[in-house]
Amino acid sequence: MENHTFEICLALGVVIPLISFTILAFFGANAPFGKPRAAYLALGAIASSCLLATYVLISWYGLSLEQKAQLTQEAFRYHWADFGSISIDVGVKLDSLTIIMYFMVTFIASFIHLFSIGYMAGHSDEVGGECKFHRFFAYLGLFCFSMLGLVISSSLLFLFIFWELVGLCSYLLIGFYFDKKFASDAGMKAFITNRVGDFGFIIGLALVVMYTKTFDLDAAADAFAQQFNAGTGIFAASIDLFGWHVSGLTLATLMGVGLFCGAMGKSAQFPLHVWLPDAMAGPTPVSALIHAATMVAAGVYLVARVFRLLTPDAQFVIAVIGCITLTMTALIAIVQKDIKKILAYSTLSQLGYMVFGLGVGAWTAALFHLMTHAFFKAMLFLGSGQVIEGCHHEKNIMNMGGLRKKMPVTCWTFFIGVLAIAGFGIPGTHIGLGGFFSKDEILAVAYERAFNMHAEAHGESGDSHGDNDNHGDTDDHGSHVRADVGDNVQLASAGSNTTALLAVQSANAMASGEGGGHANGTQAKMDIAATLPQLPKWMFWLPIIIAYVTPFYMMRCWWLTFMGKPRDQHVYDHAHESKLMYIPLVVLAVGTVYCSYWVFRPMISQASEVAANAPAVVAFDGKIHDYSEIPTHAMMTLTHGEGMVNPHTALAYIVGISWLIGMLFAAILYWNGPKLAGRIKDAVPGLAFLHKTLENRLYIDHVYDFILVEGVKTLGRLWGWFDTNVIDNFVDLVAYAAKGIGVTTGRQLDMGVEKGDIGLVDNIANAIAWITYSTGSGLRRPQNGRIRTYVLLTAGAAGIALLFVLIWSMSSDATEVISAASAQ
């Protein structure tokens, strides 16, 4: 059965926003596209994409696993170009993850378009007095096109192409108010920081292509698994990087880390996180759509997509980076005063959670968190947009307060968002918002990785693993894994853990994740659990602590904005709520409450099953659950073997009450505005210093500015100076030496040696020219313009020539000719 309806729908949905962009870009400024019409066109475009996505989502939901697997396999591929002998195909990666991401993007984007109509009506005039209303919606269309293209790409190259295009849109939209220096600075910072990440991406991409000989995501992962099993390809290869000999598993790790570098840029992970807070210079709907819900999640999406290409070591790196990011940014968020900056830092922190989740192997949970986060963070940003708009561009929460009376809808939808990000829920039940479940699930996996897993794995699968003693050994685990590779005997044996990791992946890929494949997969997956390096304990505790910090700073933000007494009467008096912007807020709030868990969670876990994308994920519960089991609360009800205590029960309470404690603490502290907190800060020694450090973002931006930005510019200047002065002067010497030879008189060549950039050959060339010139000027003396001189010269020359002929002819046959002639 060849059925391409889904792909056609999805592809169409990608193209429609592009059409909208094209129309607006060419004709947007013209009369028929006045202000509202441009917006309606863009809104219509994305809404139709959303309808298509809804259709696909619903139809997909009704299909059986076999049908889905078949559709995934039969997806259409169009030959795009040849890369050497490798064919690059364009196609739709049709699976549950694509569809759910696609739906999320179109859905949120539609409502943000709607919100923007109201928002931009008041803002578009800021740009140079001319109406740039249509330009905003054109960019949004281009963004939707690129983002959706990124989501459906089946090829890593196309993923990269759209990846860059969303970066471009981000650049254009951050710098939308480009007449302001800070806006264009922020746009540039975002783009260049992302390019640094892309540098890694390109290297990762190069390694993937080099060894798997394909750009296709699935094919590459299959080839990778196969190579692992056979100990060939990348696992038998070695390359030389500046004398660093990289081979085997390290090389494979490098590949994974390289790809992750791209994600680090786009998802703003430490140390490339600096651009995201600055990106808040863009219009607020853009912050909501691009810098909270969709584009910044692209990095996470990428890691999820290439998950099967990641070695345990690469995953560990990812987990470490995620852990650092989520901790650091959450701490910074505590002290921020700008409402958008707080949200930006909380976005960073949540992205850190997702990346951390992927790093520890919680594939499903991380993506689940992505979905829930997209909804509530978009809503929070729109809420902040309302506040900023209502308060006449006041962004400082210290000047707000008491706004709940003036903008009740914003206030309470914002509160729902705060609850969601705080992880509101009641442990042990199914009551709770998305963030509650997703964060809990990530932490549960982290717990497994940090404490339980290795012991269990030993206990349960000890029979087949008696020979492996290093399992629990964190320190040299990496080397243990590496030692396995290349040893074919060990590779061939079923007892080799590392082999099992990928063997299962490939097995899953072939079995398409259902039916009988599971039964014997169980043991193998236990093996996987045992092979992954154990996490250091701090990597579990830090996220737990931050789970308490998150509700605190979010509550602080909400409380200072909406509760208490107005601190700036002027701002308070002006505050108002725009009716047009209600709908998106309410819809997203409903989505936050309802959709996230009941719709997304099963879809994502389906994706993990069907695409065989994350065998490691399901390994941690010790048994394979069919996706139909999943709606019963995933991690909390898991059992680990018969009769064992469920460690997650305790964990669930530790995490589960964090929202309550954090929020209560914030509410008490800021009950009457920020004064109490200020006094505490002054009273406790060291706190003021800490506060200042955090306020300055740990000085990371300063360091970058100093070392990188100024450094590169200085290097450029130095280089330019070197080009003009050092090379030049050195070459001048050579040139003067050359001039000294032969020519002593004559006028200096009028060209002069200019202070441009002059290379070696240049001066030599100049010297040659000069020699020629001087010789010429010596010879030009007889050329005085007097005919008589010329005649004399000619006659003299003729005379000399005659003389020569005569002398020469004395002893030659020429004499005979002349004498013969005279004799006649």
């Binding site: 040849d82 540039m188 390109i202 441009g756 060339a765």
Partner: protein, 536 residues
């Protein structure tokens, strides 16, 4: 008309135009030039139906030539010089590019009367058309002697075009250009003669046929023989280096790049467009047509050095861009940086590297004239090019701002635009080079350094965009009009091509892939034969 007569018309059509320009009154010179270049462009497009699917070029190297004209030209004693022109995948796309860029440059010269130096319209346009013949002839000729002659024909018009109609320091720039290129030509001439006499040693009758040099087993064996000495050095290596230097000056490669920024800064806008869009490509084309197929062994021996030069060009050019404050100089240095990718792609001698290099040649041939034209547009209005004095131009000239963003992003290598494909192909191809040539262990490191150029490129382009186009509107530029219809008409084809090549590179690749495979195969065969001979 069959393909070969079309090709001949394309090559010499500009000469007819030149004669017309000289005869007609000078106020019609520009009409004739634009007309001629357009006719030549459409004639060259008429070649397309013959080769559209690209498979016409798929045969073995040397036998896959299309549109061939081969007649004896000068036959004196053993000297047998032929008029031998033809097309294959390497040259066909470049011919089209040349005729297109020339037409656009001719249209750019339309406002000749308003230039600072606007005397001698006849001379300008006549030289312009002579230049076109020179370039087209170089791309099409398959006889080395003919190649050399066209190469020199191209040199002189360029000298005058810069030296007479240029900016403040035009004479200096022109003489610099002339001497650099001439120095290269001299080395090429030496190689030309040495190769002719060596080929006479090998086969009995000497030849100038470039294809025979690469494919005749007797000649390749002689040329690449490690025991064959020239002035005490290995013949193949010496010849390769001579030719390489000759061509690298044109590319231009570090350290012979210094003529380029100067020539660009002084040259009038259309001449800059031609210089960047077409003339630089001649150097790279010389590598592909002359250096590499004929001396594969030397190329392999020196590949590390050449790749290093390519990488240095990329990084060096990008850093120099960061230091520039003259708009045109910045674009000129960016050309240097971009041509580095071409050289790197060629240096690794793999199919992917070649594809990337060829694509980058074409992509840069589209994007750099566009950038220079964009600079010209603003220079026509502001009469200066100081980047730091600009600002807010996007608000002042919205259409121009949008087109400029497109052009500079194409140059930056944004996916979806032409610059990206060449860059990524070269980078990945370099990284992969080890798979084809196991001795190239340095290739991944080279690719890593080159990939860093991607970051620098973004930095200097965006910084420039910020300083010139973004920011608040300025009083002093309040009178500037947006792009005129003529300017839009010139920018539009380049913008469309930049997008087309970026989105559907397959069509461009189709034209050259067959030939690239053939060339590489021929190189492989000849270097294998040498290896066998040494081993035996």
């Amino acid at each position: 008309m069959d393909a070969s007569s079309i090709l001949n018309f394309v090559i010499f059509g500009p000469l007819i135009g030149m004669v017309l320009v000289l005869i007609a009154p000078s106020q019609y010179a520009k009409h004739i030039t634009v007309g001629t270049s357009l006719v030549v462009f459409f004639l060259s497009l008429m070649l397309f139906p013959n080769f559209l699917n690209g498979s016409a070029f798929d045969g073995a190297y040397g036998e896959n030539m299309q549109a061939v004209t081969q007649i004896d030209w000068i036959s004196v004693a053993s000297l047998k010089i032929q008029y031998y022109v033809g097309l294959d995948g390497l040259s066909f796309a470049l011919i089209i590019l040349t005729t297109l860029v020339m037409s656009l440059a001719a249209a750019t010269s339309w406002n000749f009367e308003t230039w600072k130096v606007n005397k001698g319209a006849k001379g300008y346009f006549a030289l312009f058309l002579l230049l076109e013949t020179g370039v087209l002839g170089t791309f099409a000729s398959l006889d080395f002697f003919l190649f050399y002659i066209f190469w020199e024909v191209m040199l002189l018009p360029m000298y005058f075009l810069i030296g007479v109609w240029g900016g403040a320091r035009k004479e200096y720039a022109a003489i610099k250009f002339f001497i650099y290129t001439l120095a290269g030509s001299v080395l090429m001439l030496v190689a030309l003669l040495a190769m002719f006499f060596s080929s006479a040693d090998a086969t009995g009758t000497g030849t100038f046929n470039l294809l025979e040099y690469a494919t005749n087993p007797a000649i390749t064996a002689n040329f690449n023989d490690p025991a064959h000495m020239f002035l005490g050095f290995n013949f193949g290596q010496v010849m390769f280096i001579f030719l390489f230097i000759g061509f690298m000056i044109k590319v231009p490669l570090f350290p012979f790049h210094t003529w380029l920024p100067l020539a660009h800064v002084e040259a009038p806008t259309p001449i800059s467009m031609i210089l960047a869009g077409v003339l630089l490509k001649l150097g790279a084309y010389g590598f592909l047509r002359v250096c590499y197929p004929i001396f594969p062994t030397a190329a392999m021996d020196l590949s590390f050095l050449i790749a290093t030069l390519g990488v240095v060009n990329i990084i060096y050019g990008a850093f120099c861009c960061l230091a520039q404050t003259d708009f045109k100089r910045l674009v000129a240095y960016s050309s240097i940086s971009h041509m580095g990718y071409v050289v790197l792609g060629i240096a690794v001698m793999t199919d992917i590297g070649y594809q990337g290099a060829m694509f980058q040649i074409l992509a840069h041939g589209i994007s750099s004239p566009m950038c220079f034209f964009l600079v010209g547009v603003i220079y026509d209005r502001a009469h200066h090019r100081e980047i730091n004095r600009f600002g807010g131009l996007w608000l002042q000239m919205p259409k121009y701002g949008s087109l400029a963003t497109l052009g500079f992003f194409a140059s930056l290598g944004l996916p979806g635009l032409c610059g990206f494909i060449g860059e990524i192909w070269v980078l990945l191809g370099t990284f992969n080079a080890q798979a084809t040539h196991s001795e190239m262990t340095w290739a991944p490191a080279m690719a890593v350094v080159a990939a860093f150029g991607v970051v620098l490129t973004a930095a200097y382009i965006l910084w420039m965009i910020q300083r010139v186009y973004l920011g608040e509107r300025r009083e002093e530029y309040a009178g500037f009009k947006d792009v005129t219809a003529r300017e839009t008409a010139i920018l539009f084809p380049m913008a469309v091509l930049a997008i087309f090549m970026g989105i559907l590179p397959g069509y461009t690749f189709q034209l050259m892939n067959g030939t690239i495979d053939a060339v590489l195969k021929a190189m492989h065969v000849s270097s294998d034969a040498i290896a066998m001979a040494i081993g035996g």
